[in-house]
Amino acid sequence: MTLQSLTRAWEPMSYGFLDASAKREIRRKMLKAIAVPGCQVPYASREVPMARGWGTGGLQISCTLINPRTRIKVIDQGADDSVNAASIRKFLARVSGAPTTNDALEADLIQSRHRVPEEVLREDQVLVLQVPNPEPLRPVQPNMSIARQMHADADYGRMWLQLYEQIVRSGRVMQGASYPSLVNGRFVMTPSPIPRWDVPKLHMARHLTILSAGREKRLHVVPPFTRVEPLVFDDVPYRVEDHGGLTCQRSGARGYFMNEIPQDDGSSIHEVSDSDLGVKTIRRREGEAVAIGATWYENGEMTS
């Protein structure tokens, strides 16, 4: 037996970029976060070859979970062709050899910034959301140590007060994206800056959602079949964006979250934000046999 036979040849980079000890730490922290849904679990967060704030948290999760057979989809604001999504997809494929796809139905692992795909995700799929700020209490308490204590005490009075004040001032809750939501009846989390449209998709979902903030070094998880309830008052129901009646000018898809495109004449047109759903809708319209999965929203209304 030679020493060489016991060791591996030197390589400039580990498989999936991160070394084994970094991956082990992230695996352990993910398991902990699954066990305590919605709780922010701190992790070391290594530097990766992308700038902080550009999806380094999601990237570390993807690098840890990926193997050569994992089919990956990367989206940014719903689009596969967004420059940063393209950059992350290219990096993941390069360091893992994993195949890529734009189709949410084919993907095993979906890394996303600010959107949940419109097609219903399955038990065998993992959604990794990039998180700029993991702390829903930040607007009412910028100090991380105090906020951590508030979570421990389930002290969410100031969150409720903030929502109440918005209703008093503006006649409605003014929170845009990142709508604070109660997970499994215990921890208030930020669902990351997904639109309000996407938050109900996390409630009792079949898939696993991992939310990871690389810069802030925190991850939290919504396990499958877990309650995710936006913070609302009994007499002021939760309202998603008023997009149910909008039609995509390019694909004709209707009743999904839309991008507003301002026009020269002062008006706007709309395009479906989930770009691959738009592509598939067009291909089907042109006669191709394209599989479009069941969608969470039907005719602009959340089902189930």
């Binding site: 070391a44 070859p49 700038a51 704030g53 929170q175 639109p195 979250f257 592509v279």
Partner: protein, 354 residues
Amino acid sequence: MAYVATRGGERAMEQSQRLFRAEMGAITPERVAEVRAAMPYLVDRVMGEASLYDQDLAALALAQTGGELYEAILLLRAWRTTQPRLTVADPVTQEGLFTHRRISAAFKDIPGGQVLGPTLDYAHRILATEVLKGETHVPAPVEPASRPSPARQPSVAAWQADNDLLTAPEPDTATGNDIPDVTREPLMFPADRAHTLQSLARAETGGVLALGYAAQRGYGQAHPTVNELRLAEADVVVRHPRGTRFSAGRVKVSQAEVVSKQGEALGLGFSATLGWNEVKVIAAATLDLNSNGAPKGSATEEEFFLYHTEGVESSGFCIHFKLPHYVTFQSSLDAMRDAKAKRAARARHAEPAE
């Protein structure tokens, strides 16, 4: 097909990088060597903020990024991520440092003496414009002192502790892999002493200066006196698998001790970093001096300054605002328009009937 998931974005991305690099031309070994030789202080600053001591890699990172400092440091940090940790070196002690420069503002003279060493402190800052006219600026040769100053010196704080002027911090007994490492563990608050000092050591110089200066100017409780500022070289002593201890080489280090009167004793602030970077260690030591008991949310509170001086995180977050945010923006617009429509509807109802 009417709608294609374009690859145009990817092509534009590729070309934008080429455009950035086109201006700098070829990166040659000679260029990297020149950067290393001509800009030791820039190389030092980059190594300190990257927490990676390798002059060649730092010079390469500078050459590769055209001197875009945040990018250079990110390159080195990302490279550092991929490197295994082979061993933990012996602690570096102040007495053990090979000292090039060491000054104290607290006393006219100190045991071991004031050693000016290399500095521009007393230079007249006049541009050598003759170089642009084709002349070569050759620095005047150094005249060595008749008697070299001692290479190894005790710290001023040690003398003060002996004279009951300050209470020296308890020595940290953690060794080897038990030493908390901020690159392998998340920073939590109240922070481990090791995490605080490590974070300051790799903090961004400009950020530390801004907050340290705020504390010096009056947004802090303690006015610093530079007890001792030191530029030195430290032996990196490691253990061979056979058990022999040996120096694997020397690294340049800076350290600052600042003190201020706190009741009947002196309070001590400390900072050290890789490379020679005086401004950073004085500002960082000032923050350390002021952090004890600082109000929550103030610039001298540990959580505030450690989070906000982390250059890779702060610069990354700042430039991330260039990424598209149209989904979040759309979500806000929806709430705004709805609130506005509701207000208009209420106003209509309130108008008296004609």
